[in-house]
Amino acid sequence: MTNAYELTGLRHRYGGRCVVDVPSMQVRTGEILALVGPSGAGKSTLLRLLNFLEAPTEGRLVYKGNEVGHDVPLDLRRKVVTVFQRPVLLRRSVAANVRIGGRIRGERHGGEKTDALLGRLGLAGFGHAPARTLSAGEAQRVALARALIVEPEVLLLDEPTSNLDPYNVGLIEDVVRSENHQRGTTVVVVTHDIFQARRIAQRSGLMMAGRIVELADTETFFTTPQRQETVAFLRGDLVDSGAYIPPPPKRRRRSRR
């Protein structure tokens, strides 16, 4: 099995504080990998690194043989897309929002593809609706359609279903699963929801204070975790996240008034 990502000695700092510290990690091509962990564990930052939104402060991030640093070539960047926790939709129609990824890549058509995707996500007939009028669940499904229409090699999901009702969660998980199954899309999903990890991922990992504490086949991870932290986290015990709390902004001199 080949690896999509290979991380070696990867460290990422914000303002001197190390928020991601991963000595070694691989994401396999075509797998669904879930990362769970408390807030502030560095999961989202790791996804940002995997989406090439930032270059790691230290270490090597290799995507399919290409070492990635600053100034990632556009065609490489376009192989990876992220669906964020909050769907940021443009002030346009639903269909226009879905098509934007294709437009960026110079595709002029894609009406049928858009309709088909919207249909799969339970949004048939929503194409002409203004995107800003959608409910949270509908908006997140549009965001997923927008990511999938470009048929990415890697789909990164950052808390894609937090705050959504079970219907929306089920729909989104189904589509992610079938996309992974049919197209071999590599998926990395970051989630608070350990049950979601168990439902959709082939491998699961626990991230805490910037480190991958344990990473194993999902079945093993949930049934026979090796690390104390994993046992505690899965049991729902409060665990100190070692959360990165940014320092308060430096106060500017106040104007007298």
């Binding site: 989406n51 939104l53 940021v88 934007i100 960026i104 470009v150």
Partner: protein, 233 residues
């Protein structure tokens, strides 16, 4: 009251007869207004967008207040400045633009440009900052990110167009100084109103004022239709 009534009658008569002098004045007003507006938009929107989008802009602390000041420039001062620029002794005197519509367009552009830059800048800054991240995460190039954010800010940018248009078409001081209010050459609606008022032709002055208001309303009506089509209120 009587004057206003007579003015209305006069205005309607002037419009119905399509008084040639009025038509000429309106045509020049539109020519100067649209000319300056287009130049101000073409130059101001990209600059405003660039200033608004730049994450690290050296001298922002100075640039932004300069733009804000420009947004409130006294038109007469701009007129004086342009006059000196275009006068025979001025650096651009050789162009021969003083007392021509081109000179008037120059002055009006100076007035409208900071408005366009400032309002474009603020509306671009008002766009959800996550749009940038999301677009980059979808594989957009820098240029595509900028264009998407500018498109998201389109309602605010339309407001910039409206503000610039309003400031130009209603402006009198600068066009008076630079144009000279020469009949058949540089007389626009606002300067004609000043002239007619001074000569005691209140009815005609008011009639011209009504025509000016009518044009301004019509144009703004169209701008608003445009804004609504873009999903605005």
């Amino acid at each position: 009251m009587e004057t206003i009534g007579r003015a209305l009658v006069d205005a309607i008569r002037l419009l119905r007869e399509l008084d040639p002098e009025l038509v000429e004045t309106v045509a020049l007003t539109l020519q100067v207004t649209l000319g300056a507006l287009i130049i101000a938009l073409v130059s101001g929107i990209p600059i405003g967008a660039a200033v608004g989008l730049a994450r690290r802009l050296p001298g922002r602390a100075l640039i932004v207040p300069v733009i804000y000041t420009g947004m409130g420039l006294p038109p007469v001062t701009v007129g004086l400045f342009t006059y000196l620029l275009l006068s025979n002794q001025g650096p651009l005197g050789g162009l021969g633009w003083l007392f021509t519509p081109t000179g008037m367009i120059t002055a009006q552009t100076f007035i409208a440009f900071p408005l366009v830059v400032g309002l474009t800048m603020t509306s671009v800054q008002g766009v959800d900052p996550d749009v940038r991240t999301q677009m980059i995460a979808l594989g957009a190039s820098n240029r595509q990110v900028a264009l998407t954010i500018l498109t998201e800010a389109r309602i605010g940018v339309t407001a910039a167009v409206v503000a610039a248009y309003g400031s130009i078409i209603s402006e009198v001081g600068a066009v008076m100084l630079v144009g000279g209010n020469i009949e058949g050459e540089t007389r626009v609606l606002t300067t004609a109103i000043v002239l007619e008022t001074r000569q005691g032709n209140f009815a005609l002055a008011l009639a011209l004022g009504i025509v000016l208001l009518g044009i301004a309303f019509l144009t703004n009506f169209l701008f608003h239709r445009l804004q609504v089509r873009q999903g605005g209120p």
